[in-house]
Symmetry: C2
Subunit: 183 residues, 2 copies
Amino acid sequence: MDEKHLIEETVSTETVFEGRVFDLQVKSVRLPDGSASKRDIIQHPGAVAVVPLFNNERVILVRQFRSALETIMWEIPAGTLEPGEEPLAAAERELREEIGYHPNNLIPLGGIHVAPGYSSEYIHIYLSTELSAVASGGDVDEFIEKHDMPLSEAFTLLRTGQITDAKTIAGLLLTQQYLDNQT
Amino acid sequence: MDEKHLIEETVSTETVFEGRVFDLQVKSVRLPDGSASKRDIIQHPGAVAVVPLFNNERVILVRQFRSALETIMWEIPAGTLEPGEEPLAAAERELREEIGYHPNNLIPLGGIHVAPGYSSEYIHIYLSTELSAVASGGDVDEFIEKHDMPLSEAFTLLRTGQITDAKTIAGLLLTQQYLDNQT
């Protein structure tokens, strides 16, 4: 496809905020028609999320308070990449920290750009079907509760609107697709 | 569930950036164990996204350059809520602006919190199965190309990693679930 007519050019970039997890940049851009505009962009290091599946029928979800939404959310185990950290290593670390399991396999299910309009964040999503219990390392700034449930119950939570986290919805639906293709 | 032990309290909130689409706040919070921490939060007005489905077998996706990712993305039609705008009205507006169709029905498929760790954004996701062609209103700051394709081709793009946008993945997979439950 010739798509040059869609591309905007970055003229300059100013970092206006350096945060704990992400930075905020204001980019001056030239639109395809030559006019000028601005884009407010979150520069994010990326993240991983894992669906921990036991015997192809049970899953562990976590409950965690999210300040941005002022509520407790249902989520699959997940976390931000540390500097220089590979996604597979991050997936192992997050599973250990959040639910106390080591994944003996990590099946890539793809991933999501969470908000292409303003965030660079990409979340690598994995399925683990072979897990071993390990000592759970405490993540010092996180207060998380894990819930073991049938996969069918997780889908009920999704269908009834109780699961709204994007990575969790994508992870569960992609897991369902993966399992359907196995049979 | 008694989940008081998960809740953090907001002590103070400072708006450090007011942007075109979202604001950035730094919140001082008290963690469940009483210790102090900070949260960098994007305050976002929310958004809508629509899967436009024709004859239960063709879909229109759009190609759009995304400055945050410096690339052109495959997405379903979508956009940010304007001040005071209802999600259904926004869905109608975005479909008209981006692909030149009016939805005669809008079936709610749920929605996604795109990044609960740092963004308040919630995207309402709809399916429209009854659409009428209308004059497409130009969205002044958007350069978008629409692509009509079989739904199966959209799923091929998803499976091969060419679709990575969270709302598009959720929208397509929830549409598949909806169609499966119809038959």
